[in-house]
């Protein structure tokens, strides 16, 4: 069967069982847009290519399937650079197809030419410039294979216009061997002797902590993690990337560690004698000053990416492998060892007593005074209490992101969608659209900042046009709040270029102009009714403008580059003994 390169590309996406492509056409990708008309694949027409990329990310995070985006050459391709970088930092599987100028024009500064494979080398797991239409099916299959296996990540296929127009004889590669990837062999299982060593450390630890990262979710290892924690009674911290990987309501859960983590999670890691790092990467936002991080802890580090072992902290036992497989192997090893073990198992009672003490003295705290302006934390708590338990929560980047992570109760995996490693403002609205496309049965709430919202709000037009009824809660503090907080705390309250405005733009009118329902809450007693109203609407996107306290700060906080021991708690808690 003879097909054009463009037809072969679309057919290849169908072979990969792609349900939806987020994109926006243009000159160089025109040939590929024609067969989309006849394809079963849904295309969501975005208003900005950055939106397409973040939508694909939101879709991928909630479904576990690769997100697909399509853009034209030049500016279309550069507009999706930020999502590629974001997905690279958060190991989200993404396949981006970009149009390119005709092969004979490459290198001539042709109209809308951009060396996008060159630009994205450092922010993709791999990329391909396809020069022969016969390579298309193999390249697409390789792209999906690379994006989704090993440590997942974004990939890009750059397709010159003449290659899309040329014809080829259709085929579909039958197996991985046909993909021409001689240098790519991701590992799954681990060396049994290392599992044995890891379990020995776990068995003898007196103050162990499971440090669960985003790799747990990538590896679909939540059940295995739950089994390991329950079997060993070891406390679990869930990083910003792992919220929901272990239920917040579980008694073994200590919640989020890191710069804005809760006191107990941060201090448990600092005090621990064994960190069991599962799919986490010792990010600086978790460790604080690295030399002072968890000084007494030995480290068992499990990661599918060998380069993570020893990159930041040298492990005592480093295990390369898939988290689910390795945890299951650890569990069998623990069970097999139990009868052989001499003496009683280590009593974790004193450790738990210590941790419960921290939880009691330093719970998450904000001032619940009912007379003042709306507290952003209270908005998050109300959203949590009034929405279904399995609501998907999407956030932007800033104070609101930290409050969303701290005050939501994540009891289900794949219900937290955020930009962790890159911290990309503007992520929330498009990522929520993508999440809703992937999980149309779920309520999807974006908890966004006023600053972030203004970066990508136009994708609400896409949401309305395509019938994707997401909900957006703007925690409108009239500031680039997180930056304001740093200027208040570390720059003697010298506020430089952080003031936005509570009512410029008018978010309600803006929402309405984009075909959404626009709502507003200005006082505390308006919060609950407005959330109930928003939750009752399911035929259109809803935007709620919550006018929140501009001076609220995120606590606790470990200032950048400082030891986690120097964690700053809310001023009202300062009197408590540490």
């Amino acid at each position: 069967m003879q097909l054009t390169g463009a037809q072969a590309l679309i057919k290849s996406l169908e072979q990969e069982r792609v349900e939806v492509v987020f994109g926006l056409p243009g000159g160089a990708i025109l040939p590929v847009y024609d067969p989309i008309i006849d394809s079963s694949i849904r295309h969501v027409l975005v208003r900005h290519e950055q939106g397409a990329g973040h939508m694909a990310e939101g879709y991928a995070i909630v479904t576990g399937r690769p997100g697909v985006a399509m853009v034209t050459s030049g500016p279309g391709a550069t507009n999706i650079v930020t999502p590629l970088s974001n997905a690279f930092m958060d190991s989200t599987p993404l396949v981006v197809v970009s149009g390119q100028v005709a092969t004979r024009s490459i290198g001539t500064d042709a109209f809308q030419e951009c060396d996008i494979t060159g630009v994205t080398i450092g922010i993709t797991k791999h990329n391909w410039l396809v020069k022969d239409p016969a390579d298309i099916p193999r390249t697409v299959a390789a792209a999906f294979h690379v994006a989704t296996t090993g440590r997942p990540g974004p990939v890009l296929i750059d397709l010159p216009k003449d290659v899309a127009n040329a014809t080829m004889e259709w085929y579909w590669p039958e197996s991985v061997e046909d993909l021409d990837l001689p240098g790519y062999n991701p590992v799954m299982g681990a060396d049994p002797s290392l599992i044995e060593k890891a379990v020995e450390l776990i068995d003898s630890a007196k103050r162990p902590v499971i440090y669960a990262g985003g790799g747990i979710l990538k590896a679909r290892a939540c059940e295995a993690l739950l089994a390991l924690a329950e079997r060993t009674q070891i406390p679990v911290v869930t990083t910003l990337m792992a919220r929901g990987a272990f239920p917040d309501s579980h008694p073994l859960c200590l919640g989020m560690p890191g710069m804005h983590g809760n006191y107990t999670a941060v201090t448990a890691m600092q005090r621990s004698d064994l960190l069991i790092a599962l799919g986490s990467r010792f990010d600086d936002r978790v460790t604080g000053k690295i030399d002072a991080f968890a000084p007494e802890a030995r480290v068992v580090h499990v990661d599918i990416d060998a380069a993570e072992l020893g990159k930041v902290r040298k492990p005592d036992v480093g295990v390369v492998g898939d988290c689910r497989v390795v945890i299951e192997e650890m569990l069998s090893c623990i069970d097999a060892n139990a009868p052989k073990r001499s003496g009683a198992p280590v009593d974790l009672g004193p450790w738990w007593d210590e941790l419960h003490g921290y939880q009691k003295r330093f719970p998450l705290y904000y001032d619940r005074d009912t007379t003042g302006p709306i507290k952003p934390e209270m908005v998050v708590e109300s959203l949590r209490d009034l929405s279904p338990r399995d609501t998907v929560v999407v956030s932007g980047v800033g104070q609101h992101q930290m409050w969303a992570s701290q005050y939501w109760t994540f009891d289900h995996p794949y219900t937290w969608v955020n930009s962790g490693g890159a911290g990309t403002m503007g992520f929330a609205v498009p990522a929520a659209v993508g999440a809703k496309v992937g999980r149309p049965d779920r309520t999807v709430w974006a908890i966004d900042g006023d600053g972030c919202f203004q970066m990508t709000a136009q994708e609400l037009v896409t949401a309305t046009a395509e019938g994707i009824p997401i909900k957006v809660a703007i925690l409108n503090n009239a500031y680039l709040g997180m930056v304001r907080q740093w200027q208040e705390m570390f720059y003697e309250e010298r506020y430089s270029e952080v003031y936005l405005s509570p009512d410029l733009p008018d978010y309600v009118k803006w929402a309405e102009a984009m075909g959404c329902v626009g709502l507003r809450a200005e006082t505390q007693d308006e919060v609950i009714p407005v959330i109930e109203k928003a939750n009752s609407i399911d035929d259109r996107p809803v935007v709620v403008d919550f006018r929140t306290d501009a001076f609220e700060k995120v606590y606790p906080m470990v200032p950048a580059g400082v030891s986690n021991d120097a964690i700053v708690v809310h001023p009202d808690q300062e009197g408590a003994t540490r």
């Binding site: 080398i121 681990a190 060396d191 380069a307 020893g310 990159k311 040298k314 480093g318």
Partner: protein
């Protein structure tokens, strides 16, 4: 690969001049890559992106299979532990295998070209010197000489040192290429990274 194997190789290379390519700071990686457009950019980009320093780099197709090329990289392990360099390199999809060539197990060669300004007296000295080292005179002008020398990098270092006693107009070295010594094949492959413990 175990942490021990890396440590051994870190210390096996005893240096004479601090900062010279012979000290333990420098390790040779022989990297088999797919012979595809842009591969060198991926490798070089990785080094700059991650802040790893390269002392020299040489690329050429392998003679046995046109699908592959071999990149010989001399890495400065002061900028990052060798194990990190290897593991990051290994993640590049086009990198097929990586082996570390410990100096004791490798044949290394490098080539030098130099042009020296010479008076009548120095002319014969330089000609004699290149003769002693087994190099060649490849160009003769009225007051300049061009010479070439290939051999072990240490030998090239020594020659370069001696040449500094003259007025060197231009000097270029290729960077080293290396292969496993006979009997040492296959070289210790760093591909099978199963994890580690210490």
């Amino acid at each position: 690969m175990s942490a021990e194997s890396i440590e051994t190789s870190l210390s096996s290379d005893s240096g004479r001049r601090p900062g010279s390519r012979r000290t333990g700071r420098y390790h040779i990686l022989s990297v088999l890559v797919e012979n595809k457009a842009g591969v060198l950019a991926r490798v070089a980009g990785l080094f700059s992106r991650r802040g790893f320093n390269i002392a020299s780099l040489a690329v050429a197709p392998t003679d046995d299979d046109e699908r592959f090329s071999r990149i010989t990289i001399v890495v400065d392990v002061e900028s990052a532990p060798l194990e990190q360099v290897v593991r990051q390199l290994d993640k590049l999809i086009n990198v097929v295998s990586i082996s570390e060539l410990a100096p004791s197990e490798a044949i290394e060669r490098e080539l030098l070209l130099a042009t020296v300004s010479v008076g009548p007296e120095e002319r014969s000295q330089v000609i004699q010197l290149i003769g002693v080292f087994g190099g060649e005179v490849v160009g003769v002008g009225s007051d300049q000489l061009s010479v070439t020398l290939s051999g072990r990098p240490e030998k090239i270092d020594d020659f370069e040192d001696l040449l500094k006693g003259y007025e060197v107009v231009g000097l270029q070295r290729t960077g080293r290429v290396a292969l496993e010594k006979l009997g040492y094949r296959p070289a210790r492959s760093l591909r099978a990274l199963e994890g580690e413990s210490r």
